[in-house]
Symmetry: none
Subunit: 414 residues, 2 copies
């Protein structure tokens, strides 16, 4: 059993865009025990596409393709499948209606060009697209079952989950069970975290435990494979328990959880409302909280104070305080958090100030120096840190620092 993933687009072969679809699909196939032997990336060239599809039809059992299903002239996948299968393209009425309906629901008229997206190779199965106009195509070519999906990641993810994976399982192509569990921590460096777990991260340990750092979030990954879920979980669970015991409050979540998810969960649990006063983060805290489904009930909003005037007028921070200590100071961070909490009438409010760089550093406050403050019923907690990194990294990590301040306060029973 071998799978191949084909990514289509000149923007990929030229290096303009980085392909992340092939990796995502490899991980998904791995989860259902289908090993991937090849990734192939081809430009929008008809002959190269036909040759690549033909080769895949000879050497693989499952072939997943992404891209080339759009409405424009360089979208070739439908035609390529028809040629390799030796069949005609035929008009599929239900696909046409689905595409028209997608436009109609947005009060828009379908451009004539999109009609081509309803053409499918004769005998192929249409894979409906819940998130976009391009239907996918399922088809047996040579020894392989092909599923052609759109290149837009969000559309592809949804189509894989709803249409492709169920078919792979139903056709009996899925093998054993592979499980990866990820435990996310914040508040300690990678090597300090690893020192607490050296026996588990040693090479050869079963199940395998890996450690990775991403933007100051340190994650532990446990990998295990077995004939069924019960066998795999029996391997993973004791290790997971040990990791959680040793790391304690450093652990904020699992898998794709981010700090904002943990904060919103705790806000809901403790029934506390939340607001943000953003200096150095410039809107990033708000954006992250607003990205959590269901945050609206607890996250009220806040203020982006990008100048001293805004800090004064919108948060009531006294002009003298700003003059005396400067906008990048613990005192101003405290006053911002307090002012924000009062003006938005929330239980909690966090603030951030700092020097994101690349310019603006000084001897007292070099680039990367930040202050975060959390105002709550009992007063104000603060934290300062000095990040090494680019402007975007300083902003991102400072947003995490502020969220973590709120998380730890809520955990302590705030």
């Amino acid at each position: 059993m071998k799978a191949e993933i084909i990514s289509i687009g000149s923007e990929l072969t030229s290096g303009r865009n980085l392909d992340t679809n092939a990796r995502w699909l490899s991980l998904r196939l791995g989860e259902i025990g289908i090993p991937v032997a090849f990734h192939t990336t081809i430009a929008d060239d008809l002959d190269d596409n036909v040759a690549a599809f033909r080769l895949a039809s000879e050497r693989a059992d499952v072939v997943l393709t992404t891209g080339g299903l759009g409405p424009t002239q360089d979208d070739l996948t439908r035609e390529v499948m028809a040629r390799v299968g030796g069949v005609e393209l035929v008009f599929d009425e239900p696909s046409y209606e689905a595409i028209r309906g997608m436009f109609a629901r947005r009060n828009r008229v379908m451009p004539e060009r999109n009609r081509v997206q309803a053409m499918v190779p004769a005998g192929a199965e249409v894979l409906p697209n819940a998130c976009g106009t391009a239907p996918g195509v399922g088809m047996k070519l040579g020894r392989a079952w092909f599923a052609a999906m759109p290149g837009v990641p969000s559309e592809m993810y949804a189509m894989y989950e709803a249409q492709v994976r169920p078919r792979l399982v139903a056709m009996g192509l899925a093998g054993g069970v592979f499980v990866q569990r990820k435990i996310n921590t914040f508040g300690m460096g990678e090597s300090q975290v690893e020192e607490k777990l050296l026996d588990l991260t040693a090479r050869g340990h079963i199940p395998e435990v890996g450690i990775t750092a991403s933007d100051a979030t340190i994650s532990l990954r446990i990998f295990a494979m077995g004939p069924d879920l019960a066998a795999v979980n029996a391997l993973i669970e004791p290790v997971e328990r040990t990791i959680r015991e040793r790391l304690g409050v450093l652990v904020f979540g699992d898998d794709e959880d981010e700090l904002q998810d943990a904060v919103v969960r705790l806000l809901a649990e403790k029934r506390k409302t939340f607001a943000v006063a953003e200096g150095v983060t410039g809107g990033l805290l708000g954006q992250r909280l607003a990205g959590v489904p269901g945050a609206t009930q607890w996250f009220r909003g806040g203020v982006i104070a990008y100048t001293d005037e805004a800090t004064r007028d919108l948060l009531g921070v006294p002009a003298e305080l700003l003059r005396e200590h400067g906008a990048v100071s613990e005192q101003v961070a405290v006053a911002m958090a307090k002012g924000c909490r009062e003006r938005l009438g929330t239980d909690l409010a966090v603030s951030t100030v700092g020097v994101a760089g690349p310019g603006g550093g000084s001897d007292v406050h070099p680039v990367g120096t930040v202050f975060a403050a959390l105002a709550h019923a009992g007063g104000v907690s603060t934290q300062t840190f000095s990040w090494l990194g680019t402007r975007a990294e300083v902003q991102s990590r400072t947003a995490k620092l502020a969220l973590n301040l709120a998380r730890l306060y809520l955990l302590r029973g705030g």
Copy 2:
């Protein structure tokens, strides 16, 4: 002339690691006029490697490989090249000394298994590795010149620059000057934009014109190649002029320009100050503007109004208006923009409201419905739209819609 890039390693086909080497090499080859037609990724499997190298030796003129040059049993590239070339592996004394020296300089003894890294296919050229133990291999196989490099990105980058690129140029494989120009537009769908340019995007048009959509930004890319820059520019310029003429104010920038860059540029030009009142975008507008170097002089900050209370208290939107029309309404967007402009004392203020989903939609306002408003000295301009997409996509595209409203106003002489 066609190039192929082969990435070797089971950690890539399994999705465990994301391959960024292929993209990096594609960009470098593009810069010296060598178009890349294929990326191939294979696991550490001897037969698959031999087949992939053989195929590349038949369909490409330049083949760059990464990975498989380490000292362990799953490092197969040296053996694969020897098999495809029909030659023996021979011991290369200078490589052996270089590897030993690399260990000696770190006060370590060379492990015996590293000796295998000094074995090269007979007749091949050794490409010295300045940053690691694995020497590269240069060799003609079939119609192609192969350069095998290590998979570690830093080692590969250094070897490409010092060893591979000079050889490609010396062998006359570099094809002169390659230029790509990108023109970014916002405000019309991909197929509608293409309808205005069908003569230019047709297959075979010289220079090649491609169209891509990324999060509602539609970009035209003009690709041209020629013996020198003057010849390439002579190809590109008339096409670029035609595109700009036909698309008019849809065009907001070039290359890596984003809408916020265009807005900050226009704000500076017209000496106008700017603020944001964020409902559905929740901080994203602020974050994007705060990311533009030099924005501080024009971007003052704003308000994240994620609840009716915040909208009322921080922006002065009357409670009756919120009750009567609901927070997701043109009326509330208008009142938010006006309130924001007054409270921050700026020349312009934009607001966003809407339903980002996945929940919260209704018959009147399905998920994806958004309103943006721009308050200025002459009154308020508004726009509404209905996006297809995930929550993050709706938020991102709505931020663009609001920025575009400001851009068009400033362009008209605001």
